[in-house]
């Protein structure tokens, strides 16, 4: 018997680590991966709550979160490729001018 609280605390820890990655890392792709980590942590919380209320709506919502994350990853990586093509760097501190 694992209390639901344990799953929620794990989800909060993973979310915090995702936020930390988003603030600290300087590579655009790693920033993006921290966003995916945050989305995964939220998925875990949804499934835990789906168990708590014995309702499958939580799991269906996780399905939609995954679909949206896939779409966002595709477009975001395409933008990163376009940025790299013009500015030759993936360092977030150096991508700071709207027009080169």
């Amino acid at each position: 018997m694992v209390p639901v609280a344990y799953y929620l605390v794990l989800s909060a820890i993973l979310f915090g680590l995702g936020v930390l990655g988003f603030l600290v890392k300087r590579n655009l792709i790693t920033l993006f991966m921290s966003i995916e980590l945050m989305l995964n942590a939220v998925n875990l919380a949804f499934v835990a709550f789906a168990w708590q209320w014995k309702s499958l709506n939580g799991q269906v919502f996780v399905f939609f979160v995954m679909v949206v994350a896939a779409a966002e990853a595709a477009v975001g990586l395409a933008i990163i490729i376009a940025v790299f093509r013009t500015r030759e760097t993936l360092n977030v501190d150096k991508v700071n001018l709207l027009k080169l």
């Binding site: 639901v4 609280a5 794990l10 300087r26 708590q52 799991q59 990163i80």
Partner: protein, 183 residues
């Protein structure tokens, strides 16, 4: 008892891989750590009876989205990231702030929970594919169709954004792909 052990094992693997994601300097190592996080989360989904979601997490997230990330990292080959003054300041201010954030989120979720239960796999609540399909195609049919349009828009957007400058994606003659230069 076994479920508690499994939860702690995979929970610690997930947190360890997430810390490794932050600690590694080359993005390919971070990508592989994220795949480990997703795989351990898939196991945690299985522990909560969400078997369809566990399979979908492996197939879609770890098997397709992360492949996309790994592709882009290999193609761009941007190398290790360096420590700039910006990142040092961010770490100094960021770590306490994130601890505060995660702590308050955890406290709210746990202390304000009006009906805490225990997760026990013999409880009989299983997210089987047929049960989720019933919900997806009856109650949530409109969001389902809208997400399909969203994916179509994302495909078009990704193709247009990633095509080389000076060509119109889908019309006219595209540039020679670099791999053909070998033939």
């Amino acid at each position: 008892m076994l479920q508690l052990v499994l939860f702690f094992v995979f929970g610690i693997i997930a947190v360890g891989a997430a810390v490794n994601l932050l600690a590694q300097r080359h993005p390919i190592n971070s990508a592989l750590s994220l795949i480990v996080v997703m795989a351990s989360l898939a196991t945690l989904f299985l522990l909560m009876g969400a078997e369809f979601l566990a399979a979908i997490q492996v197939i879609v997230y770890a098997g397709a989205i992360m492949v996309l990330f790994v592709f882009v990292i290999m193609l761009l080959n941007a190398g290790v990231e360096d420590r700039t003054p910006g990142s040092r300041v961010a770490m100094l201010l960021g770590i306490p702030a994130v601890v505060l954030l995660a702590g308050s989120v955890a406290w709210t979720l746990v202390a304000r929970n009006p009906y805490p239960v225990g997760v026990n796999l013999t409880g009989g609540f299983v997210g089987s594919p047929s049960a989720i399909a019933e919900l997806l195609f009856r109650d949530f049919l409109l969001p389902f169709e809208v997400t399909s349009i969203l994916i179509l828009i994302a495909i078009m957007g990704a193709v247009v954004l990633a095509s080389p400058a000076g060509t119109t994606a889908g019309t006219g003659s595209p540039e020679q792909p670099p791999a053909k230069a070998e033939e």
